[in-house]
């Protein structure tokens, strides 16, 4: 029923009571202007914005938010009003993105009050604009219609309002931003995708959580939103915003259907003994038909004591899925308990400042020791609150550390760090795991606690190992050359992990190293013989590898579209493909760059993945052309760096890559087994 409008298209409105729903994936300001017959906004009293949210027949939200519901009553519009423009603007305060090109395409929908869709419009093609006229509602021969406008303004709200003929445009624009900045102080974020029943719920890939009813994000834009990821910081220079780590199962729903762990996850180790008999009659690949073995539950706690943590104490159809959910639960708990602590400390600081200001402005405090006493008291109150907050944090941290201590040793190789002994008893697996650990996440308040950063397999987006400068590393000690070596080394560690957790012959790796600068670090991959071929050198090598992979993507896409997926050539390699590119854009001509972008966009859906080892500055010559490429990749750093945000409260987490302990031969041992398993089959 809902008409999906394209730019310039209009649609009749049959009802007067409407709701305009906006979802932008990032906080935006929603406002509306009323225009007369000539389209002129007669004065500030014809603008509904966060400072003045209500006009006759129209109401907007008081604050910036990722989702808005604007109420419109066309019958209540003054006679003189012939047009209503719905505007979106990025807030200036709060350090968020400063251009729409850096965020997901905003989506607006006109609905009835009961939520029934009338028309919708996705505002695409925005770039440096920071304000946009999204929709126009207008009278035409006594009836109202809606038109998709999508006119953006690089000069922001001020330029937009000027263009609408408002004399006081500039003052009003700054007034709106002011009102929003005040609202941002207690900003409300869009809730992360999550099922309603709270903690640590089961979220399989097959049931990627849809948007909840209050956040009408269409599926098409949800994936887009996730893809925006790590480069908001880079796309918007100087902006301190931190990109979110996608929530569990929050993958692109239009992407490849990830392996459902309930049907093909490894048989839980406890399946046999737990059911009581020596023989397990259940089909190993039909996990869903039999109830899952009961999760290990914590023994009842002594009164007044927190329960003893147990590995796998979460929901899931297999031990692997339970551990996965448990880790996400720990991640969320640490994010939230730290949020509580930081919020209490901030409050204590601001209260102290206020009280000291009062002491200073009170003339009585100049007499005798009264002022000092009041100052002491204020300090004591601050110290006491901070101490209380720290106690609460320490209590929670102790519990999480204890949980981490039992969970880490229980992890399967794909979830475990390279230092975990499980890697020493590594065997080439028979099944693809749910997820892969790419490193650890930590917060400064909790030095001892590291949360594994798990990403779903197959990879939903490419990886970018940033060999450029990072915010945290002390560049005096790490020179350019060293940074690049570390970046290739961590790329090798990630690649080795991917090779090791896939069954034999189900993961093929290609490497492009145009100048051979990564040769030494790539050594373990090369001489264990796990690569599809030697690293490609020079422009010819680049063109050859990219050409073959592009052709492969085309071929699989054609087969899928034609519904003849089983008619691929018999010698076709059905394995997932990973292309590791070192030293980009060295050796790349324009054609190769285009092919690379094509692989990044289209590859993941057909099993072709990308891992870039690159310094963005090296490719600066391409300008904004490559922005979408960087945006589509998950940025990882070879050294600890606080560039990843959690999906709940958006803390900046320090990411540490999963690296092999110095002197350990585990990586080569594992790769030799991978290579041996492969030779046996072929």
């Amino acid at each position: 029923m809902t008409a999906e409008l394209v730019r310039g298209q209009n649609h009749p409105l049959s009802q007067a009571h409407l709701e305009i729903r906006v979802s932008a994936g990032t906080p935006v300001v929603a406002a509306a202007t009323l225009g007369d017959e000539g389209g002129t906004v007669r004065g500030v009293e014809w603008v509904a914005h966060p400072g003045t949210p209500t006009l006759p027949g129209l109401e907007v939200s008081r604050q910036a938010a990722a989702d808005h519901r604007l109420a419109v009553d066309l019958d209540a519009m003054p006679e003189a009003v012939h047009r209503v423009h719905v505007l979106l603007s990025l807030p200036q305060a709060g350090g968020g993105p400063v251009r729409f090109g850096a965020v997901a395409a905003p989506f607006v929908a006109v609905t009835g009050l009961d939520g029934s869709g009338v028309a919708s419009y996705t505002i695409t093609g925005l770039d440096s604009e920071s304000a946009v006229v999204a929709l126009e509602l207008y009278r035409r021969q006594g009836a109202w219609k809606v038109r998709a406008v999508g006119q953006g303004y690089a000069g922001g709200l001020a330029e937009l309002l000027t263009d609408q003929g408002l004399p006081q445009a500039r003052q009003l624009a700054s007034g709106i931003h002011e009102a929003v900045a005040q609202g941002l102080a207690r900003s409300v974020q869009a809730p992360p995708p999550r099922t309603a029943d709270g903690d640590r719920s089961r979220q399989t890939a097959a049931s990627a959580p849809g948007p909840d009813t209050s956040a009408p994000t269409p599926h098409g834009t949800q994936g887009h939103h996730n893809a925006v990821g790590p480069y908001t910081t880079h796309g918007a220079p100087g902006s301190p915003s931190v990109p979110p780590v996608a929530g569990p199962g929050a993958g692109d729903p239009s992407g490849p259907a990830p392996t459902d762990p309930s049907t093909s996850g490894p048989t839980p180790p406890s399946a046999g003994p737990a059911t009581g008999g020596p023989i397990d009659y259940s089909h190993p690949r039909r996990g869903t038909s039999a109830p899952p073995p009961p999760p290990p539950t914590a023994p009842p706690a002594a009164p007044g004591q927190p329960a003893q943590p147990v590995a796998g104490d979460a929901t899931g159809w297999s031990m692997e899925e339970r551990l996965y959910n448990q880790i996400w639960g720990m991640f969320e708990d640490l994010a939230r308990t730290t949020a509580a602590y930081r919020s209490a400390v901030d409050f204590a600081e601001s209260r102290l400042e206020k009280e000291i200001d009062q002491v200073l402005s009170d003339p009585r405090s100049r007499i005798g020791g009264q002022g000092d006493a009041a100052r002491e008291a204020a300090l004591a109150r601050q110290t006491q609150l901070v101490d209380q907050a720290r106690q609460a944090l320490d209590r929670d941290l102790a519990q999480l550390v204890a949980e981490s201590d039992v969970v880490e040793p229980a992890l399967p190789p794909a979830f475990a760090g390279w230092d975990n002994p499980v890697w020493h008893s590594y065997r080439v697996p028979m099944e693809i795991p749910m997820a892969l650990r790419l490193g650890d996440l930590g917060l400064p308040e909790s030095d001892r606690l590291r949360i594994p950063l798990l990403v779903r397999l197959p990879l939903e987006r490419g990886l970018w190992i940033d060999s450029g400068r990072t915010a945290m590393a002390d560049d005096a000690f790490v020179d350019t050359h060293e940074r690049r070596r570390l970046a290739v080394e961590s790329a090798v560690a990630h690649t080795a992990r991917l090779l090791a957790v896939y069954p034999a012959d189900e993961f093929t790796v290609h490497v492009i190293d145009p100048a051979g600068s990564g040769a030494q670090a790539l050594g373990p991959l090369v001489h264990t013989g796990v690569l599809a071929g030697p690293p490609a050198r020079g422009a010819a090598g680049v063109a050859d590898v990219l050409g073959r992979l592009t052709q492969r993507v085309d071929l699989v896409q054609m087969a899928l579209r034609g519904g003849v997926a089983d008619s691929l050539p018999p010698d076709f390699d059905t394995a997932q493909q990973l292309l590791v590119v070192n030293d980009f854009p060295h050796g790349f001509d324009d054609r190769a760059v285009t092919q690379l972008r094509y692989l990044a966009d289209e590859g993941p859906a057909v099993g072709v993945h990308l891992m870039m080892v690159a310094d963005r500055e090296d490719a600066a010559g391409y300008g904004p052309l490559l922005d979408p490429l960087w945006r589509s990749l998950l940025r990882l750093t070879p050294v600890p760096d606080d560039h990843l945000a959690d999906p709940w409260v958006g803390h900046a987490w320090t990411y540490e890559p999963a690296l092999v302990p110095p002197g350990s031969a585990v990586l080569e041992t594992v790769l030799r087994q991978v290579a041996a398993a492969r030779t046996k089959r072929s």
């Binding site: 109420a71 009050l113 009961d114 409300v188 809730p191 909840d212 209050s214 509580a340 609150l385 907050a389």
Partner: protein, 188 residues
């Protein structure tokens, strides 16, 4: 319980209440015979605002279902109501032990998002429940309650080591909790 009445959330056995739930229920708008799809749905929304020293610090409502610290959780927006037989259609759960130390008051509100006044809504109620044993601590009947679109229902505030609940039941008007802020502030 009546307006203004305060009850301590200390239990008789000396333990204190650890979790409360604010439940909100109402009956869906009756279907209109032939053109059932044109029924004007009734959407009531429950919200909780967390205050530190009379400053709003965080809020839990249908667009922000979990407070940043995780102590207050909304079970999700219900846009139409239920059968009106007393079940909660929306609920907000508060884990009192996990509320950050500086939060000293939590105010619960109910708003009619679709604009019907409580006079027009059938079988609407809101209640506070001790989540640990399901015992009802307070209950308000909203239906027939006057030409208001909102109510500041109750506040839970720190008192000594535990928490105390005060029934407010103050009528107000507004579409979301933001509209109620002027009505809430004098009640803190």
């Amino acid at each position: 319980m009546t307006k203004g009445q305060a009850i301590s959330l200390q239990k008789n056995d000396g333990g204190s209440l650890t979790a409360v739930r604010m439940g909100l229920g109402w009956q869906a708008a009756p279907r209109r015979g032939l053109f059932g799809s044109r029924t004007r749905e009734i959407d009531l929304d429950a919200s909780a605002v967390l205050f530190a020293d009379k400053q709003p610090v965080d809020v839990v409502f249908f667009r922000h279902l979990v407070s940043d610290d995780g102590s207050v959780r909304h079970t999700g927006d219900n846009l139409v109501g239920g059968v009106g037989q007393g079940g909660d259609d929306e609920a907000i759960l508060v884990d009192l032990a996990r509320v950050p130390v500086h939060i000293d008051q939590i105010v619960f509100t109910v708003n009619s998002f679709t604009g019907q006044t409580f006079q027009e809504v059938q079988n609407a109620f809101c209640r506070l429940v001790d989540e640990t044993n399901g015992q009802e601590l307070a209950r308000y009947t909203l239906a027939g309650g006057g030409a208001y679109t909102a109510q500041v229902m109750a506040k839970v505030h720190r008192a000594g080591p535990g928490w105390t609940m005060t029934a407010l039941g103050t009528p107000a008007n507004g579409r979301t909790f933001q509209d109620l802020m002027p009505a809430i502030l004098p009640l803190l």
